[in-house]
Symmetry: C2
Subunit: 160 residues, 2 copies
């Protein structure tokens, strides 16, 4: 039976606490729920137990949900996150194309309370690449265009 | 022997073409190279063959590199990408903390030539969440703070 947003968001918050207490990673949890209210997948941060910096709760939940559905999109689904997604996770959410996102704590809470870089990365991503703290350069653009042109000219392809 | 940036960037461009031709995903490739010039890991977009929307070339390469190094950071490494990383991948790069990023085609090339959403997602991420096209809401902030506070108060923990 379909529950209200608070129900699923509390589930995400509980996953955050449990995963952290098990030592799997940071204090973050996420749940993917389909349009009928079924929980498709749950995730918590697993950066430490997998040595994978991309194993944030939302990425873990999205990967599990897509594996379960055998599809790279989460049409009609809602993603519940214990904390506002960082840019990596928000990007992953856009690529997965769910219907909605609901979160509890903010990026500033993650920074101010727990010392995470979320707010800093949001600032960096908004800058032109030459102004970022991460040294970044562009070169060989013409050669880099070639795969994009090949994709454009491919007759049978799956858009994602 | 350490090669110049163009060498590794051409490797990333070749991975982009090869992966696309094998039908594994979009036309994107990435290489992680350590400070000594050794290729730590390669990746190409695998969204289609894995049904995983997070399996972008950079994420694939970062995950493989971290698995190989058994560490969640890529200290001293350079990441070469055939195309400017999307916000998800750029976020992943920040979390992995390499020394440098080098890319060839731009986010605008990815959009204009091949129809990908990278530039759109950059626009969205810079907006306050209430103004984004993805319906987003915040609730239960006080409850969401609790895992962050527990993390803050934990005596032995690994920062990442």
């Amino acid at each position: 039976m379909k529950k209200d947003d608070a129900h699923y968001l509390r589930m995400a918050i509980q996953l955050a606490e449990e995963g952290m207490k098990r030592g799997e990673g940071g204090p973050f949890g996420a749940v993917v729920v389909d349009a009928a209210g079924e929980v498709v997948a749950k995730g918590n941060n697993r950066v430490l137990c997998t040595s994978d910096p991309t194993a944030h709760a939302e990425v873990v939940a999205i990967r599990r949900a897509c594996e379960k559905l055998q599809h790279f999109q989460l049409e009609g689904c809602t993603i519940y996150a214990s904390c506002e997604p960082c840019p990596m996770c928000l990007g992953a959410i856009y690529w997965a194309r769910p219907a909605r996102l609901v979160f509890a704590a903010s990026r500033h809470d993650a920074a101010d309370v727990a010392g995470f870089d979320d707010a800093f990365i949001y600032q960096e991503i908004a800058l032109p690449f030459a102004e970022r703290q991460l040294p970044t350069s562009q070169m060989l653009r013409e050669e880099g265009l070639r795969p994009l042109q090949l994709w454009r000219d491919m007759e049978e392809k799956t858009a994602y």
